[in-house]
Amino acid sequence: MITTKELEHLASLSRIELSDDDKKTLAKEFDSILGYIDQLNRVKTDTDTSARIGAVRNVTRVDVPETISADDRKKLMDEAPDTEGDFIAVTNIFK
């Protein structure tokens, strides 16, 4: 059983506002989903739980800045909800 307090904590970590109704529905759904995936506890796994699948490997590359055209730059900026001059504007952090 997931508690309302636990749900509120998860919502706070996830930066999502939840209404009381949301919490009620989610608690019910969580119980059903966790009840399902908890069956995994029946599996005997090796002690090595850090195992990764074969095809997955790290690929690195040199970190070099790419120059983009003024037009592409403008298009990127146009997607921001709020801008000031050449900058993306956010709500004041320091008052």
């Binding site: 998860l10 999502i16 989610l26 796994t45 195992a51 997955v56 590359r61 990127l76 909800p81 004041n92």
Partner: protein
Amino acid sequence: MNKIDLTTITVSEASAKMKSGEMTSVALTEAYLAQIEKSNKDINAYLEVFDDAIASAKASDKRRAAGKVGALEGIPCAIKDNILIKGKIASSASKILENYHATYDATAVSKLKDAGAIFLGRTNMDEFAMGGSTENSAFGVTRNPYDLERVAGGSSGGSAAAVAMNGALFALGSDTGGSVRQPSSFCGVVGLKPTYGAVSRYGVMAMGSSLDQIGPITKTVTDNELIFKTISGKDDKDGTTLSSEKTGIHTNRKPVIGIPRHFLGEGIKKDVLDNFDASIKRLENIGYKTVEIELPNISYSLMVYYIVMPAEVSSNMARFDGVKYGLHVDGANIIDDYFKTRRAGFGREVIRRILLGTYVLSSGYYDAYYNRANAVRKMITDDFVKAFETVDIIATPTAPSPAFRIGEKNNDPVSMYLEDIFTVTANLTGLPAISLPSGFAKAGDKDLPLGLQFIGKFGEEGTIFDVGKSFMGEV
């Protein structure tokens, strides 16, 4: 010029007809736009039809006249709404990106452009590809062309329905747990989930980064192979991509087909099982050897998937903060901006998965869920590696049922998740898998399509295409 019959035409035929001068890309594109105009208001496969499709077709006809002919020259297609086309809206069927314009092309899209393809529009989907019915779209459900009361499947329901309603010659979808194959099964079309790393994900919105692949949806296996070859290959912008010699491989022996009979029991509709048995008979009749195989841990696949996937979702969705792009809702302060924006912009399933992912990754639960899931994922992969010592293809039904009724599974997430039971293993293991139309189930006066799934060895799309073509009678 004769009227173009969109119900039977394939990419290969259309290319041949344009080559011989019997048809132009403009005429073909006009025919598709007319068909979309007729069908889309009922089916809602397309979220937007592009107003520059005819102009692109004109440019293609010009290129052809000048002797410059790409592999998909003049072929009209549809693109899932989570794959970027520069300058077009890409919303992932979410309110949070409702007015977002892509600022660059996905690699798969630029490869299609280079090959001469025409983009008809962007297709509906479950929001951020999270769902199995396209009911989670913020812009309305996509209806199944075979029965408007039923879902088209998901999450690439719009792409599968677009091809099935004769509204595109092919479409791109994305597949994280079955999102290309299950809607292809529901809509009676061919859908491929390529080997992990075969197709670049640069420019597709990430959902589960260790699982996601872009895949083609077509009417024939031959067409599917052509699109796959066009969009696959190494890409510097996606570090997981493999060079083209490492995928699309054909086995050089007569493929043996394995059947995990022990996994085909509980929760599967009788129609589906009967059809599957008939499909296996058909394969035997055309000369394939079939053997029963054991995949001891396969029944845990879906549980592993519903831990790994939400964990990756919770991380990938963190980028939507109302600052750089997309929806912004003002709160009391900057932190509250995030809370308000994300609550207003995300639908219920997306929120559910973010919270679930946060839960399985949180301190105290990480070992019990995420680490255990990774260990079992490795065990499942080992089972497949072992099975592939004796067989070349593993066959299962694509989905446990034909298309279900709209609303039928809305209030029961687990029953919706069970739709992915046969498809998630290919994503967990990185193996290629295809869904082929295999017949119909009767529901009242309607015929609902069913699908047969082939899972191949790592990098062996060629083998599943070969057997797929002989199953479909294409050779």
